[in-house]
């Protein structure tokens, strides 16, 4: 017995020092600076360098300046002069006290975002799948579905909406108001707005369709054939093949949609920021507008984090863990 235990101990001791030596050889170990890793770093920074330079000059500088402005009072007098505020976060407090419309505007925006996002994503996915199937005049259809997005950004759209082209005729005759009569205003308002701008939403989803289409190109047809042989119908292969493969694209599209809706020119909060910055220089002014936009950026960030958490791949952690196991062996 005793000797057997000793033997076991011996074996353990014999195995024990082996482990770290194996780990040292592992190129994925973060602490070791091997020649190869240094090379990889260099190449990484080499490829990134033009982007880094651009970002530092045009983005980081501007961000830092705007952050600096947001905690000062600005006077445009022979260039820009900065004066200290009573306390550094005064502008931020002011945004919450002066902007009385902000909570309702923000609430309406969030609700309409929650309503619009699934519509845009599912509509563009359906259209992309239709456009990806084998039909004649495919490229003509693709063009028709994508091109409105180009016009939608221009002044033509304001002309079109003014003429009532962009509304569904059925919706405007009051039947919807009757239907939604029982709901409180802050819910009913985004819904009526949603139906009023339904066509506008569809016109604006060209980029999303395009992104989905390029994602769909990756799905190999052999996979569908294999599923068909195993007895899956179209509905099943959509849920089991198309959707899982498209999941990262759906996340990408959702992020794009949120950003486009939140920072687009027609957004009401952007208009609030614009008018605060440029139209009311005496009560609010530039540094106030800066503080406002920082707050708004934080709000968008929170929305995006929620989207990320909802749509990120759940198996991600597991895959990483398995990968690590493979490299350790």
């Amino acid at each position: 017995m005793a000797t057997k235990k000793k033997q076991q101990n011996m074996q353990e001791i014999a195995i024990a020092p082996k482990k770290p030596s194996k780990r040292e050889k592992n190129p994925h170990d973060k602490k070791r600076l091997t020649k190869r890793r240094v090379r990889e770093w260099l190449y990484g920074y080499l490829f990134l360098s033009p982007w880094i330079i651009g970002v530092i000059i045009f983005f980081v500088c501007s961000m830092v300046t705007s952050l600096n402005y947001s905690v000062h009072k600005i006077i445009f007098d022979n260039g820009v002069q900065l004066q200290p505020l009573e306390f550094w976060y005064k502008n931020y407090v002011d945004v919450f006290t002066l902007e009385t419309d902000l909570p309702t505007t923000l609430g309406t925006f969030t609700i309409s975002l929650v309503l619009q996002l699934p519509i845009i994503i599912s509509f563009s996915l359906i259209i992309a799948m239709l456009l990806n199937s084998k039909i004649r005049c495919r490229s003509l259809f693709r063009m028709i579905f994508f091109l409105p997005v180009i016009i939608a950004t221009g002044p033509v759209m304001t002309m079109l909406t003014a003429q009532g082209v962009a509304t569904v005729p059925m919706m405007s005759d009051g039947s919807l108001t009757v239907l939604l009569g029982g709901l409180p205003a802050f819910i009913a308002e985004p819904i009526t707005e949603l139906f009023n701008s339904l066509i506008l939403i569809l016109w604006n989803s060209g980029i999303q369709i395009l992104i989905f289409l390029s994602g769909l190109q990756k799905v190999s047809t052999t996979m569908y054939e294999a599923a068909k042989i195993d007895g899956a119908n179209g509905w099943e292969s959509f849920w089991k093949i198309t959707l899982p493969i498209l999941k990262p694209i759906i996340l990408l599209n959702s992020v794009y949609t949120v950003v486009a809706l939140a920072t687009g020119g027609t957004n009401e909060i952007i208009e609030l920021i614009y008018s605060a910055t440029y139209l009311t220089p005496w009560t609010k002014g530039y540094s106030y507008g800066m503080a406002f936009s920082w707050i708004y950026t934080a709000i968008i960030a929170v929305i995006l984090i929620v989207v990320f958490l909802l749509l990120k791949e759940k198996s991600d952690k597991k895959v990483k863990y398995e990968k690590r196991l493979v490299t350790l062996r």
Binding site: M63, V80, W203, S214, Q217, P248, I270
Partner: protein, 288 residues
Amino acid sequence: MAVGGTKVNPKKFETSQIPLYVYLLPLAVLMGAPIVYIICHAFKPMDELFAFPPKFFVSHPSLINFQNLMQQAAASTVPFSRYVFNSLVVTAAVLVLAILISTMAAFALSKMRFRLKNIMMEINNLALMFVATAVVIPRYLTISTIGILDTWLAHILPLIAMPVCLFLIKQFMDQVPDSLLEAAQLEGAGSFTIYLKIILPMVKPAIATGCILTFQQVWNNTETSNLFTSTESIRTLAFYMNTLSGVGTVQGQGMAAAAALIMFVPNLVLFIISQSSVMNTMAHSGLK
């Protein structure tokens, strides 16, 4: 070759396609409305432009709006072709540089391991979210400090960093299998070879989408002309077209409609060119 119905791209109309057309055609009519409208609107004579109730289609097409536009352009100090030339040069430069920078950065961020990688990606995401109105004045200050105010570079440099483009292309590169790159590495390919020969062909659809996005932003951009230049001869076509619609006269409305059509046509051409590369990527998909 397979027989009859199993062809990938059917030459003849088949009954199995009917349901698809049932969905697609009404939607296409709906989606095509603004395109038809913008074309019709440009050819409307004065009385139809301001008709009440407004008409969707044009009944007596005329070229009067284009003639007015040409007259106006001939009367201005800077020839019309100059604006077109400026726009073309600026757009081409931004397109090439932006795609080059975004794909290189996306390759590094997606497929290489180095320090601060995640922080870089976060900075890009922050740039994606930030409100453009807020950085107008700091950006002006940056540009005047570098000393490129009122030059060509003022049009080009602020626009080549496209956070949306980088995000899009990076997300597509994440899906390129690592084993493919490892295989190339074993064969002796360096980072640049992998970038040129493997990564770029494989993310072609994303690049085409990025091209369309960038083009749209640059071609329609009036901000750089407005803020960073003061010489009329280096301003862009979008800016000039914008001033026309701002004239406010009756003729101005018609000219704006014609201008909108002129601004729209290059978008159409670029889309037709790039969409074939969005669609023909299955052949290059590499690993099985």
